[in-house]
Symmetry: D2
Subunit: 426 residues, 4 copies
């Protein structure tokens, strides 16, 4: 699970550590609920109107002091936002549509949010059938032309905003699930595919190509296969760009990767784990399509295996019925609700049950992750890391692992790895 590779630049070289001076641009492919909640929240925090709760980089501690200071992370005041969206929206429109934040707060942030206008997106309904009537989509003779247009956007964004550095976080929709094909086998094949507008190349892969070509560190908040194929591995290595993914670990999976370790720690057996989700935002609508759900199913389904180890303990974890269901249910809006039923057993095999009902909010949980990933990818780049940043696995449902290494899903192992990596000598 989790495509993986090792980049020659992977080990941080302390001499290269750059300062955090200067302005950091954050580019967001997908200016929807998550992106607008993130942007609005940063602006509100700058103005002292609200707290950026849930962000380690803003409120966490490391080595006895604020993590922000310990690592020299970009300050909130130095962040500049941009993004693409297939709908012609501003960040204010997006926030209002999302219905996550209070009208009263948005009113105060309105002027700044209005300034952030979605650039025309690379988009193809073939990959996201649920999105109709898009009105802000790039035209191009080939996928390659579209990629070039994105690269031009990146450079214009950088120049117009006098930015020192840029990172990107995919906050767009989940694309349909499709196995990589011949075009994904090598960088040469991929570039030929871009030129030929190969239909097996998805829009998110066009973004991945364009951004990495420009050396922009990228995080993938969706289950899309943005980097998880040989062609992109090559490009990442070639350009020395740090990347991280995939799929933000927010509601139900977050809880799962805390409770499964509890069962493993106590060696309580598990017969089944049933997880159902109801959500009513655009994300839910997109996932209502079978092929798009399939992408999500892959990232949500693999979580237990590495924590509840059926090989070492076949009698406890060798036969777990793990079902994950996602349901588009409009009454919830951006609220997301998970219900889990875990059938466990203890001493002499006696059965017990654990049920968890998580009434959470998708964008509220994802927004601080966007902030952390943007800053930490920038940090990684500044200290010379490239390739898969596996110590960011803490933030992902299906963390990308290095070649030959196992994917870690255990939340507290991930946390330990994150903290250790951050404390490694620069």
């Amino acid at each position: 699970m989790g495509a993986s590779y090792r980049s020659p630049h992977h080990l941080p070289e302390s001499s290269q550590m750059q300062t955090d001076q200067g302005r950091l641009g954050i580019l967001l492919p997908g200016l929807g609920a998550v992106a607008s909640t993130f942007i609005a929240g940063v602006i509100a925090s700058r103005q002292g109107l609200a707290d950026p709760v849930g962000s380690l980089t803003e409120t966490g501690h490391l080595d006895g002091g604020p993590m922000r200071d310990a690592l020299g992370l970009a300050s909130l005041d130095d962040l500049v936002f941009g993004g693409w969206d297939p709908y012609r929206v501003t960040a204010l429109d997006a926030a209002q549509r999302a219905g996550v934040l209070d009208a009263a707060l948005l009113e105060k942030l309105g002027p700044e949010l209005l300034e952030i206008k979605a650039m025309p997106a690379v988009f193809d309904r073939d990959w996201v059938p649920a999105l109709t009537d898009t009105d802000n989509v790039k035209e191009g003779a080939s996928h390659l032309e579209l990629a070039d247009a994105l690269r031009a956007d990146v450079n214009a964004f950088k120049e117009e905003n006098h930015l020192d550095r840029v990172v990107a976080v995919w906050t767009g929709s989940t694309e349909a699930y499709r196995e990589p094909g011949a075009a994904h086998e090598s960088l040469a094949a991929f570039e030929a595919g871009l030129e030929a507008s190969d239909p097996s190349i998805s829009p998110s892969q066009v973004y991945a190509y364009a951004l990495v070509r420009e050396g922009v560190p990228v995080a993938n908040g969706s289950p899309n296969l943005m980097f998880d194929f040989p062609a992109m591995h090559e490009l990442v290595a070639l350009t020395g760009t740090p990347v991280a993914g995939r799929d933000f670990k927010t509601g139900q999976t977050l809880v799962k990767t805390a409770l499964a370790p509890m069962l493993a720690a106590r060696l309580l057996g598990v017969n089944g784990w049933f997880s159902t989700n109801i959500l009513g935002n655009l994300d839910g609508l997109v996932l209502n399509e079978e092929d798009n759900f399939k992408s999500k199913e892959v990232t949500k389904g693999g979580v237990l295996g590495s924590i509840l180890d059926g090989e070492t303990h076949p009698e406890l974890y060798g036969d777990i019925d793990h079902l994950v269901r996602i349901n588009y249910y409009p009454p919830k809006g951006d609220d997301k609700e998970g219900w889990d039923n875990i059938d466990l057993f203890g001493w002499l095999g006696y059965p017990m049950q654990l049920k968890v009902n998580f009434l959470c909010r998708d964008s509220v949980l994802a927004a601080p992750i966007v902030l952390d990933l943007a800053r930490l990818l920038d940090f990684a780049a500044r200290r010379g890391e490239s390739g898969i940043v596996d110590w960011l696995g803490f933030y992902f449902k299906e963390p990308m692992a290095l070649d030959g290494e196992e994917t870690v899903h255990h939340l507290f192992e991930q946390e330990t790895r994150l903290r250790q990596a951050l404390l490694a000598p620069k």
Copy 2:
């Protein structure tokens, strides 16, 4: 929180590590649901009738192999059981009354269980008002005489069963909550108190005194103040006996110490945590008394503070309403059910809720802990440890900490400490 002291013998001295050869006696003050489920389970496991699920020492791994072998722990076949109870019961009676295990299984184990007869207990209804009509209580002119009678029991048990070593695990009732008094201030005062039958000395403290005087390592599965006062600290140091406690961490608190770390890892804020429990066994009946509940409240209530750190993060954890309720509700029998409601908040303070319903079984969760504690205390004694065995905190609601050290409640930190201690050079 957590009385603590350091014994001069604390550091293991590798040369002293004794072999695991020979028979290990396990003495259980309180031959009720937990003790009988534990004993029956070990016998069933020996006979291949069922699996000792939930026991790290039996099914866990360490350093790539079974923990049992890695540490040279006493084998199931070498365990011998004894116990005291204020009711004249055999282990079979106790198991049948408890109603935890299937009649069919008990029938097969009957002959062996019938052989284990409760020795007359030291008991005083003043401390456990809910237990009436006891018929198996020691008479004695003073507390000291009662302690001497217990010591004689220990020695007889050892001799009659040709045991090499003995450990004890308190599986009796929760006593009323009372603060330690003058008699608890020093060993001399305590022994004078025993002689004078000081009413501030509880029966569990008489057991603690007698067992430690005999050098028997003891674990305390209840919230009782067995060791947590200066007099006993002295005695433990004097005799070089390892002790561990207190209050088995089983249902709701187990889940709490896995979920609170999740919230802390992601720096999600908490406004309140409401925990209610319904249970119908003798334990529930005992806790229905206000003073006895008070004891439990103390061990259950302190859990969050050390995980959700309100000093470092006052804005997140500075003002948590943490309510714990226990209700005696006979329909549940030995089943124990917890319901938790957690009011948390994320990005910009937006509220979310997490609810957990744990349908568990008290004795089924506690039995493997009895097995692990018996073996690991024996292991600690054999490798020369004495005093508070703080690395056993993994098993307790209110772990005893060493002097000057903070109590660790975080389940995964406890797990790490346990594993590290076990791997320390012998």
Copy 3:
């Protein structure tokens, strides 16, 4: 259960049916969360800003048309509000403190709400210890003087507002539970008690006396013993005043009286019903006091008996453990959350479980009941009814029943009775 008596005026006399023309005053002893949510909601509904959801009298149908028209009920536009409170507040203050309604809505209603000022209350902390620092309490030489002051308030309210009719709904706090005493035995004894300021007479009884003396129909939304004793029975009969009570049936009890009938309909057995509540408003704070909780316990606890009939079906309902717990838990604010666990059994005694988690809002559920009771009591008075209006039992946790009749808790029997009574010839 449920004190009961029959008034000589009880049967409606059709010739007496008065018109609904004119203005109806609604007096509310207790200007807190429920009262302010009710008043604000009526005003908002008048202005078309929101819908009075949950009110049968406003949105329900009867006999093929709107109930309002079928019965000639007072229109929203003809309602005028007044009230007493031990704190010097306006309806706007009360609504803002309660935190139930959005600030944006309250802003629009502000001018009208500001006009409604709490009259000084009859109050005694002895009966509601949780309310401290009251600043709007009537002084009087005796209980009787206080009652007279209330009567003067009623008349002034009527006159100043040019009202044709007045009704009252108790929306104040739950008083401590105390059994009625000698002073409650007869009207004469009660009036002597008022004069002597007998401490066994509670403030809510002083209100009841004053209002009924003035012929004002009264509903009792709390568990207080306002009418449930012989002295008040006499007065009600003497004055021909309709009264109804007690304790609004809102959250958990509402659900209970729908689910218990389901079990009864299918003759499924019940071993236990555990109900716990968490609430954080003033109501919760008041009920946190043991004596005040006792009042609530009485009204909440009696619900099952008349639905799950243990006399006819001892094998199914003869031994139900019914536990009700209320917990003051500030994080919930005016939200009220119930969790129920029902242990039932079916065919051959096999056990099953039903669990219900109701995330409701106290004032949002109670406000439409206030509206309905005010209008329907007025309707009852106009068509000449007096004494206990037992067909209003639909709205109450512990409905007052007529002498010799059984209290009906079954929600759907209550609904049928309500509808039949409304359709009875006028």
Copy 4:
């Protein structure tokens, strides 16, 4: 919803009421978990080993006395069981496979259960793909020959067991959903279709035809279209046979038809109702197939519409998102667990949530319904009723209604109708 028609024989003619003397045969197409739990339970009850909890006809009261006596229902001792199944099983095998009842109880009932052997079934995997390796299926040159074979079975069963009367209750699997076709339009077309083995005629329809041809009253416990088409309406009328259906109302739907009336009674609005089910028995496996689930979806989905009336109250019930999900989840075995989330709203539109978790047992809830339906259909036949017995709607998810009448889902209206019909003059 609910095909409906009126039979000329529908009105009971009191003179025809036959006595309950004699033996009543109960034929069960489908000898699985429900049928074997039902049979074993009746035998256990006869022997005083257990109580037939949940059966109105056995434990219910009517008119002040036991319903059984009031109506002169067949006594348990007079019941004789038979059935068909595509697997060669006895009732004992079926009960053991189902895993519903305790081994100890089954052991006692073994001899009687062993005597009940499944007759070869009419079965076609095309309609139930999940059932493989069947070994007890009738062979026949045409559907008509199969129907004739069933009729011969009925007569042989009657004769061999010296039965006075026979009724049947479908306890077999849910068939794939298919709309009725031309063959279902008239009795003539249907009989031609049977002769031509028309693939649009399902096995359950072959049973329906054979049983009704023999004048055997039939109840349909599944969502299959057994009677709900014109051809069968004709046959029922022609033969004067009472029939009832469809789909036993057991777990989640039972609760739904009690809670929805509560919301309707109080006019609380509903935005959405999400229902998910996890079940692990054969029923779950069958419903895991999309076409078979479709049948169930139809009967489960229509429930709310007639209770929460969106036409009269568009502002409350005009736009409800009602989602029903069923998941095959083997760890539950015959246990069936439902989780419901209801998004409701009250006063001024403020949202609330109600969540229900029902840990039930499919067969334990269905078995008493089989008993009641068998006896009450027999009662209906004896008092001369024929055609759709609409007052049995209390027992069904999708009650068949008479022509021109609306389907009633409201549990308490159904209960009232049942009781009124039973009390009607005979």
